[in-house]
Structure formats: structure tokens, C-alpha cells
Amino acid sequence: MKLVTNKKVGDYSYLFFSIIALLPIIFLFIEGKDIPQKDIESWTFVLNDVVPGLLKNSFQLVILSIIGSSLIALPLAFILELTDIPARKVWNVTTVLPLAFPLYVLAFIYVGFFEWAGPVLTFFREAGFDTLGNMKFKNAFGVAFVFSLGLFPYILLPIRLVLKKVDFKLYQASRSLGKSDGHFLKKVLLPLCMVPMFAGCTIVGMEVMADFGAVSVFNFDTFTTSIYMAWSSLFSLGSATRLSLMLLTFSLLLFFLESHISKRQVPLISNESQEAFFKLKLLPKMAALSFLGIVTFFSLILPIIQLVLWSYHAWKNELSANYFSLIKNTLMLAFSVGGSILIISLILVYAERNKHHKRWLPLFRSFFLVGYALPGNIVAVGVFLLFMNILGTSPMEMGLALVIIGLTYRFLSVGHRTISPTARLINPNFEKASKSLGKKRWTFIFKVWLPFLRGNAIYAFLFVFVEVAKEMPLTLMLRPIGHDTLSTKIYELTSEGEWERAALGALFLVILGMSTVLLMSLKGENHAEGH
């Protein structure tokens, strides 16, 4: 009897959380629902003239970015997880570090490189290659190039987590049946990678659709730039929320597609530490190393060199700015939000266990995603309106709590998604066994459940930490007076085109992100070795 009650309580608390997750958006749409007479003209214009182009642009961009990041991530995952590639520990780190770059920083760096007046095309023209020297970079392919470089780790990491758990015996079995390595790759490993790859692609797709900064640098119109245009230039919050609703619909479609596919997860888990499946010969080894080298060069080394050069030029002017307090504020925000998301995600994932047969689950899970799928400034308005209605006064009086809640709401799904797939691999019988042995529920949670999820929890915290440090529009709007962060400082300078001066802040941000990534990946590895 007690068991039933517990289950129900779990269900109710889950419903409670997911409905809370919907509130800001509900308030946003209440606010935007009635389009005032004076806005009707704006909305008609947006709907008839702007939206068709946006659909084409967004679709094109999402597809190209997903293809681009998968083309980088899939081979990398195989090389790093299944072969005896030299210096794997170094590559493990360099392939995660690109996450530390805000996309708008990468975008600016690459537009700077590949613009007509930039060094690369100038070089080509001077060398006499006029076709190359007049190449256009500011188009869908250029944006997708930047997104792929900045977002591929989101696909790489989940694939690696699955490949790590593939049983070596499967391979031996395949060999003993006389099947070739290629056959094993095609028939076993690739299908196995499809689920995590699709999960990663969904994240990439949403990041792409919710990005504002990078597409602005390219002057490439997407939903976010038009939402911003409707809001701040046409002054029509109604049109902006309607556009947001469309954007949200597409993100939810992606999400449901993904949760439909990930149901077909085949557990082939082994907890044994594994050796390399494939020993590479010289030529493939060279090819693999050059691939790793090229990816690392473009996603990491080149951008860092550019930031360092810019910072060097702007160093003296910018030093007076109070970077110490900016760093402190950034860290504080990232830690609080990272921590609160980790705790909430674990509670949610725990409540979700054994419920994967339930039909309502994907629907309610999708509510947590809402904050992530929309551009930050729209989410900020929603959170703002919610608390304004609850408190009956300006939510700014909540101080830091407001921005922490806002960011937690925005990135909750990042934490949740990172932990949830692995949690599904825990066999429900473990819990039953633990109970039948008379162990308390807490014993099971702390001795079995949490340790199993530790690797994912670390990744979840890391992802959120880096996302929060990079986040700009929501922080900018909801932060209390005086609580500037590195990203708001970068915004200040970049919106005026002062990239050299912004570089110092960006560099700090990237270093901050990278040290977190380094720390976490070291921890992650110690943990793996400890088993």
C-alpha cells in the first residue's frame, strides 16, 4: 500500500514540476495573445512577408548544421572510443573545449577571417586566385560551418558514452562468426550510435534555432532575429510571441521525433573497462590524427590565437575595467545555476524511472524543454511577467534570485537530457532486489543509482556551467543593478563593434569555460579508472 502512495506522490510532484515549467511561457502568451489594433498591421506584415523566408532559412540552417556537426562528431567518436589512437587523453580534452566558446565569438572570428577585407581572401586575391578571393562566406554554409565547429561536442559526447559501454564480447563474437570489421561497424556499432547521435542532433538543432548572436554577425535572418526585430523595432510583443510560438512548435517536433526514436534503445552494456577494438595501421592512424588535428585547429587553436592577439592590442585600455568582479559574478552565477539544475534534474530523472512505458511522459518531459528551445530574451520576458504577476510588483526586487531562477529555467533541459538517457539503462530489478534485501530507498539511491549516474551528472553540471557563463540576453535583462558578468560586458563592447576590446572578456570567458571542462574531464576520467 505504501508503495502505491509513494508512486502517486512521485507522479504528482512530476506533474507539479512540469506545470511550473510551463508557467512563464503561459504568461508570455497571455501577454502576447491579443494583438492591439495598432499591431495588426505589423503582424500581417510579419506573417505574410517575413515568415516564409524564415522557414526556408531556419530549415536550411538546422539541416546544414546537423550534417556538419555529425560529420565531425561521428568519426571522432569512433576514433577516440574504439581505436588505439595516440595521445587519446589530450584529444579527449581538446574535443570538448570548443564548448567554451560562445557561438557569437566564433562567428565574429570567422567572419573576420573570411570577409573580403579579411586576411584569408586578401591572401587569395594577392596570390592571383580571384574566384577564391571573392568567395562569399556570409551565407547559410558559413553560419553552419561556425555552428558545426562550436556544437559538435554535443553529438560527440553522447555517442562516446554509449560506445564506452559496448561489450567487447560482441566484437569477439562477430569476429568468430567470420564477419569483417566493416560488417561489425555497419551492423552493430553504427545502429547503436544512431540513438545518441539523434539526441545530440536535437540539441544542436535547438541551439541553432535559439541562437541570436552568431546569426546576427552573419546578418542571416532566422526566427530569433525576427522575433527580436518584431519586438524591438516593430515594437510588437504580440508578433514576437506569435513567432516564438512557431519556433517552439518546431523545437517540440524535433523533441518528439527524438523521444520516439530513443525508445528503441538497445542495451548492450558492459561495465568492464575495455580495450581498443581496432588497432590502427600506420596510414589510417595518420589519417585519423590529421582529422583530429584539423578539427582541433579550426575549433580551438585558431580562435584562441585570434582572441589572444586582439586582447594583446586592447590590453592596456581594458585593464581598468573591473574584470575581477566580472569573473567573480560569472562564476557565482554559473555555480548556483549549475548546482540547482543538477539537483532538480536528478529529482526529475529519479521520478521518471520505470515510467518509460507511460504515454504521458514525453509530453510532460517536453515542458522542461520550453526554456531551452526559445531565444533567451523571450524567455526572460516570460519569467519577468510570471513574477510580476505573482509578486504584484517589479520582479527586479528579487535581486539575484530572479536571474538564477531564470537561468535555471532556461537550461534545465540541458541537465535533464544529459542524465536521463543513462538513467534509463539502470535495470529496474536492481531497485527491487535492493528492496527485497530490506535496504532503504536512500541506500539504493546513494549506493547504486547516484554512483551509476555520476559521470553524466558531472557532464550535466559542466554543460550547464558553460552555458550559463556564455548566456547573454537573459542575464542582461534579469540581472540586478550592478551585477555585470563577462558575457554582459562582451555584449556591451561587441554591440558597438569593438571586438578587440571585447576579446579580453571573451578570452577570460573561454579560459573559465576551459578550466571547468578540464577539471571535469579529469574528474570524469579518474572516476572511470576507479571502476
Binding site: 556570409k138 546576427s216 527580436y228 530574451n377 519577468f384 542582461l476 550592478g482
Partner: protein, 328 residues
């Protein structure tokens, strides 16, 4: 003794609280910080401020309207100021100082906002590609002889929306449309900011670009040898399009009196000098001195016939127009 000191501290805090103003501004921190400090030093009134994007700040003010935490809204571009006032967020301010210091075309007709510095949206040319003394105007740039020679900033920037709004106000919708259509036909590329427009002009990707004066000032200060020069447009007609950065007092502000004093101070000789200097803009006050760099650009005829309030009113039309002719 102990109690006395506590009491005096309390008194002091109460005093300090009474004498403070809060400013929401879309101006960048490094452009306003020092001038706020100067005011604090001179008057003891503490200026708290929060920076952000104009749209978000306006949303904040709207939400707080019944019980505002903010006294002054300060932003760039008349379009933003117009919107804030048209939404009823700004208080009409009676001040002889402000009305005498700020020329009529640079402030709201009902005195809800006042321009505090002026920037001109001028044409800048590559001196190797455009001869000195060439007749240049916004209208001229639409003609076929400029084909493949024009660089523009994105139409999403409010500066260009105001410029096109001015063209609509001056010529009517259809004529303005044919002008902007001509620009699009002549353009080589569109950039996300003015600095990149200037760099493209300097590199010879195009011969002319339309930018705000201070962006030119900043770039040329860093790289004086670039083959760039300001060529004031429309000097034989209505004059170069200008815009302002400005401010107004927030409706229901609890410190109207102090806020008005602060605005008056910002429009005064001394503050004007600092305010304009820090961003290489033009002071609103004729008597305030210009910096040497700004002076070196020479005298020009500004467009005084166009009241900037109309830039806000016509902004939606401008956006529609630019979309229709494919100006991205």
C-alpha cells in the same frame, strides 16, 4: 557614544538614500560611467545604473510603471525614445534650461525626452576611389554610376531604420522606396556593424559606405593611415541625417526634481563637453567645445527640417519598405 555613532551612520545612510538616482540605459557602460561619477562628485547624488538593450529596458520600465525603481531612461536613437514616450513611460518635463539648450528638432514635441548628443549618419569614402568634391547624397547613391560601389550596414540596425524613415518623411513612401531599391541594386555587401562597413571601404571592396560619425572617429584614431574620409552628403539639399542619444524622466519617478536637475546638468556646458567627447559625438549645445578629431571633420549642414519624433513614428514603415526592396 556608541549609540550616537550608530545614529549618525543611520542618518547618513538615510541621507545617502534620499540623494540617489537610478538610470536605465542602453548606452554602454564605458560611455556613461565617468560622467555619472563626475556628477556624483559634484553634487553628492549617487547615480545607480543598469545597462541593457533598449527593448528589454523599456519592458522593465513598463512593468514597474506603478512603482518605478528607475528615474531616468537614457538611450540612443530617437526611434527608441519615441517608442518609450508613445507608450506613456516618460514624463513631460518643464525646464527652461532644457528647452533653451536642446534645439527643438532634437527633442520631443511634448518635452518627454531630450537629445543630449548628436551623431550624423554620413557617407565615408575611399579616398583612392572617390574624387574630392564629388557630389554625394543619399539619393545620388541610388543612381547606376554607383553600381558595385556601395557598402551598407544591416537594415535591422535602428540607425538605418531612422535614416530610411527620414527619407520617407522627406520624399514620401514611393520615392523613398525607389531610392533604397537603388542602394540595394548598387550594394556590394551588407555588414553587421559600421566598423566592418568602414573596413570594407578602406580595403576597396566598395567605394562608399553609410556610417555614424563616431565609428569613423574610433577607427581612424586607431589606424590613421586608412584611405578613408568623411564626405558630407546632401550639403546642397536638406543636409546630412542626424540622430541623437538622449534621455527622459520616467513616469511616476519618485525623484522628479533631482532627475530634472541631472538632465539639466547633462545639457550644461561642462557635461556636454565630456558627454560628447567620450564617444566622439557632437555636443547638443553649440557653445560646448568639440574634440580636435571631431573638429577636423569640418563644418557640415545638418538636416534640421526633419523632427526626430517622426523617425520613431515612421520606423515601422521604414522596416516594411526595406523588406520590400530586399535590403537585408
Amino acid at each position: 557614544m556608541k549609540y550616537l555613532s550608530i545614529a549618525s551612520i543611520l542618518l547618513f545612510t538615510a541621507y545617502a538614500q534620499a540623494k540617489s538616482l537610478t538610470v536605465y540605459t542602453s548606452r554602454k557602460e564605458h560611455l556613461v560611467k565617468d560622467i555619472f561619477k563626475t556628477y556624483e562628485k559634484e553634487t553628492g547624488v549617487k547615480i545607480n545604473y543598469k545597462t541593457g538593450k533598449a527593448g528589454a529596458l523599456i519592458q522593465n520600465i513598463k512593468a514597474e510603471l506603478k512603482d518605478p525603481k528607475v528615474d531616468i531612461f537614457m538611450t540612443v536613437d530617437a526611434g527608441n525614445l519615441w517608442y518609450a514616450s508613445s507608450e506613456g513611460l516618460l514624463e513631460s518635463t518643464k525646464s527652461d534650461v532644457l528647452t533653451s539648450h536642446v534645439p527643438a528638432h532634437l527633442r520631443d514635441r511634448d518635452n518627454r525626452w531630450f537629445g543630449l548628443s548628436v551623431r550624423a549618419r554620413t557617407t565615408v569614402v575611399n579616398t583612392n576611389l572617390v574624387k574630392k568634391g564629388t557630389n554625394i547624397s543619399y539619393e545620388e547613391l541610388a543612381k547606376p554610376e554607383w553600381k558595385g560601389k556601395l557598402c551598407l550596414r544591416t537594415s535591422k540596425k535602428v540607425y538605418n531604420q531612422s535614416l530610411v524613415a527620414m527619407l520617407i518623411g522627406t520624399h514620401g513612401y514611393d520615392k523613398a522606396k525607389s531610392i533604397v531599391k537603388g542602394w540595394v541594386a548598387n550594394k556590394v555587401d551588407i555588414f553587421s556593424n559600421d566598423t566592418n562597413v568602414l573596413k570594407a571601404v578602406a580595403a576597396g571592396q566598395c567605394a562608399v559606405g553609410i556610417v555614424n560619425t563616431y565609428y569613423f572617429g574610433r577607427l581612424i584614431k586607431k589606424q590613421p593611415k586608412l584611405p578613408l574620409a568623411i564626405m558630407w552628403p546632401n550639403q546642397k539639399s536638406y543636409g546630412v541625417h542626424i540622430n541623437v542619444s538622449g534621455a527622459g524622466i520616467v513616469k511616476n519617478s519618485k525623484h522628479q526634481e533631482d532627475a530634472r536637475k541631472f538632465l539639466e546638468w547633462l545639457a550644461s556646458d561642462e557635461a556636454q563637453k565630456q558627454f560628447a567627447q567620450v564617444n566622439m559625438e557632437y555636443p547638443i549645445l553649440k557653445t560646448a567645445p568639440q574634440t580636435d578629431i571631431v573638429k577636423s571633420w569640418g563644418e557640415f549642414k545638418p538636416n534640421t527640417a526633419f523632427n526626430l519624433t517622426d523617425a520613431g513614428k515612421l520606423q515601422k514603415k521604414a522596416i516594411k519598405l526595406m523588406h520590400e526592396v530586399g535590403y537585408k
